[in-house]
């Protein structure tokens, strides 16, 4: 079941085309990577799903029916350019944003307090936002994005600005939210986190959808599916690449039958997302 379905979505600003008939499905409960170079139209697509921008053509469906403005209360959006009211107190700010997402004041307060404890920032409630460091403000921004328990979470470059410790904290929270049933759209240029987190991806380039599908499947599709064997014998460790057509069992057996040989790994070689990205965007083949 797709939580979001875009059908032939187009958007142009005057003569400039931002999205050209993009169709894609975002399956429920998955982490969906939205990839593409700068200026490809990702932000426009995200804004269309958020109903910030209304498309010139095509339809967006939320849980199978045309999306309405009340559906945005079930979406949590963290834009790439983070922003909070600088002069407002942290607590007031979080309460305000939570209430705009449809929470009652008491509900918002108790949920927020729980999140503040989870992130170890209880003491910040009465501080002004301008007193916070960049990383602290990022944490607050993340909390305000997820506090209303959205069923769809749209995170644009969620790890930028975090140190490795806090990035790990956010990563864990994203996984928790996924386990609780939330769908997450992750827009990022960090291909490692795509490989690590995403179940499916879509790549947009020059306003068009170039490819979409499962991460494993795409990586397999773009590689030659060679197999890598690592073994150790009396001379040391060796790495050998075998063709995709290699029959695993007899090949391994021949190695095992040699005396003093130990198999370290035997795995399919898949291209890295980074290389696939570059190939699809520039046509330059590094795979």
């Amino acid at each position: 079941m797709a939580i979001i379905e875009c059908k032939e979505v187009s958007k142009n600003f005057g003569p400039k085309v931002a999205l050209d008939r993009v169709s894609l499905e975002i399956p429920e409960g998955k982490i969906f990577g939205l990839l593409g170079p700068n200026g490809a139209g990702k932000t426009t697509l995200i804004r269309i799903i958020n109903r910030i921008t209304i498309p010139n053509g095509g339809d967006v469906y939320f849980n199978g029916r045309p999306i309405t403005s009340t559906d945005v209360q079930k979406i949590g959006y963290m834009p790439e350019e983070r922003g909070l009211y600088r002069k407002m107190k942290v607590g007031d700010q979080a309460m305000y944003l939570a209430q705009l997402k449809g929470m009652s004041a008491s509900q918002a307060r108790s949920e927020l307090k729980a999140w503040f404890v989870r992130f170890g920032i209880q003491d910040w409630w009465d501080k002004k936002v301008e007193e916070l460091s960049k990383g602290m403000a990022q944490k607050l921004q993340f909390i305000t994005t997820v506090v209303h328990k959205p069923s769809l979470l749209i995170l644009d470059e969620p790890f930028s600005g975090f140190d490795p410790v806090n990035a790990e904290l956010i990563r864990k929270q994203i996984m928790n939210l996924k386990e609780d049933g939330a769908t997450i759209i992750l827009s990022t240029h960090n291909m490692e986190s795509v490989e690590e987190l995403c179940d499916e991806i879509a790549l947009i380039n020059q306003s068009r959808l170039v490819i979409s599908g499962g991460v494993e499947q795409i990586r397999r599709e773009y590689g030659n599916n060679n197999v890598e064997l690592v073994y150790t014998d009396s001379e040391g460790r060796h790495t050998e690449v075998l063709p995709a057509t290699t029959d695993g069992a007899p090949t391994l057996r021949t190695y095992l039958e040699k005396s003093g040989v130990q198999i370290n790994s035997y795995r399919e070689l898949m291209p890295r997302m980074n290389d696939i990205f570059i190939k699809l965007v520039t046509g330059e083949d590094r795979i």
Partner: protein, 449 residues
């Protein structure tokens, strides 16, 4: 429109501003300044009147001295038999503030007069002395024609007219009215609307700019519609304006009343509306034309009667409607401009077409009392961009009901049209970053959305 969201936005915009230190400071400082502005001239008037200047008169013509009658502030005394030079040098020791030296009558049947004083004499005093000498010379010249029974003729001719002005109500009943009071009201109300529209209109603009620069706007519009955000903001700030306005009035009156009580005199008793208006910086000559400095205007009971005779209900209604819709119209324009820029410095160029009509309205309004029914005042009070300021300035003089109705309708329709256009510009503008926008861009956005 989701009214729950609008309410939350109004709440934040209102509480966040009202709780600010700067709001509290201006709320208390302005009434103190206003009260000072009202009290200081009154105190000065009161204290200056008590000091009487003594002027030694050396009248060599022999005809002027008898016309120099003592006034409240001037005592004329015959100069002692001392050489004039030493009298001038030592006037303080003789107990004089000034020496008035009048020459003998010359061939033109005139005199020259020299007034010497230690401290400079006020303009008012000099003109008083000048008038007296002139009338003495005029009498002398008329006398020189040797007309029989002249003094009787002069007595008969002398006219002393006091103009009482009345306005006739629709029931045919005469009401005493006082142009001065109307003029003061007209100007003050016009000014209030101008100041509030400008002040709170630009507050809307800076608030929009703040949300845009801090990028919080993208998070906001992912929760609420941009129109909800814009109108919530405009209404929230309108509530701030009304709160401040109300507090200013209450506090100013409390301060003036308190100060009057402390000083033990009712300062308002001698208050002259002409001076009130003058102290607001309007040139004195223009005021004098419609407001005689002396006469019934100085009498507080006439002022009160006049106020009572104005249609307070109608005035209040006109004030509120034009205040509210005037603000709404300009606030939405300011919001559209704010959405197009990323810092306040860039806004001045875009702001100009909006502030110019406001200024024009203001200038028509502060002179409206001179000719409240002139063509410029009429059109100023009809055209929606100036009408909020000009109509309220005309209102104390009475404006035909149909004019008020047409002007209100025009203003409301204009507000709706421009609010709609502004909302379209705002919607696109708040998400435009990185380049300086021009009016051409705004036009493009309007057609795009």
């Amino acid at each position: 429109m989701n009214f729950r969201n609008i309410k939350i936005i109004i709440n934040r915009e209102y509480l966040n501003r009202v709780k600010k230190k700067s709001f509290l400071v201006t709320t208390f400082l302005v009434p103190i300044l206003m009260a000072a502005l009202m009290l200081v001239p009154m105190i000065m008037m009161l204290t200056s009147e008590e000091k009487t200047k003594v002027i030694a008169v050396c009248d060599r013509s022999g005809i002027v001295a008898e016309s120099l009658e003592d006034t409240k502030t001037i005592d004329y005394v015959q100069a002692p038999d001392v050489p004039l030079d030493s009298l001038k040098k030592n006037m303080k020791d003789f107990g004089f503030d000034a020496v008035l030296d009048i020459s003998e009558i010359n061939e033109q049947k005139s005199v020259t007069a020299d007034l010497t004083s230690v401290n400079p004499m006020g303009v008012e005093m000099a003109s008083n002395i000048n008038n007296r000498i002139e009338s003495a010379i005029e009498d002398y010249r008329i006398n020189s024609y040797g007309i029989e029974g002249l003094s009787q003729i002069m007595q008969d001719v002398k006219a002393d007219i006091k103009l009482n002005t009345y306005t006739i109500g629709e029931d045919g009943e005469e009401k005493i009215s006082e142009t001065g009071v109307y003029a003061a009201f007209s100007m003050i109300l016009g000014m209030i609307i101008f100041i509030f529209v400008t002040m709170f209109g630009s507050m809307v603009m800076s608030s929009v700019i703040e949300e845009k620069t801090s990028r919080v706007v993208e998070v906001l519009v992912s929760s609420v519609k941009s129109t909800e955000l814009m109108f919530g903001k405009i209404i929230g700030i309108a509530c701030v304006a009304l709160t401040q306005f109300f507090l200013w009035i209450v506090l100013t009156f409390a301060l003036v009343a308190g100060a009057s009580a402390v000083m033990g005199t009712d300062l308002l008793k001698d208050k002259n509306p002409a001076q009130m208006v003058e102290s607001m910086g309007v040139d004195a000559a223009a005021v004098e034309e419609v407001m005689p400095a002396e006469g019934p205007a100085g009498d507080i009971s006439v002022v009160l009667d006049t106020i009572k005779n104005m249609d307070i209900g109608a005035m209040l209604l006109i004030f509120l409607v034009f205040f509210v819709f005037g603000y709404l119209l300009y606030a939405s324009l300011f919001a559209a401009i704010g959405s197009a820029v990323e810092n306040e410095g860039d806004s001045s160029q875009l702001q100009l077409p909006v502030t110019i009509p406001l200024m024009i309205g203001y200038f028509i309004a502060i002179y409206a009392f001179k000719a409240p029914d002139s063509a410029i005042a009429f059109w100023g009070s009809m055209i929606p961009f100036t009408s909020p300021i000009v109509m309220i300035a005309r209102a104390p003089f009475g404006v035909p009901g149909w004019e008020v109705a047409v002007s209100m309708a025009l203003l409301i329709v204009t507000f709706i049209v421009f609010a709609w256009l502004s909302a379209k510009i705002y919607k696109v503008g708040i998400l435009m970053f990185g380049k300086k926008s021009t009016w051409k861009d705004l036009w493009k956005w309007l057609r795009q959305s």
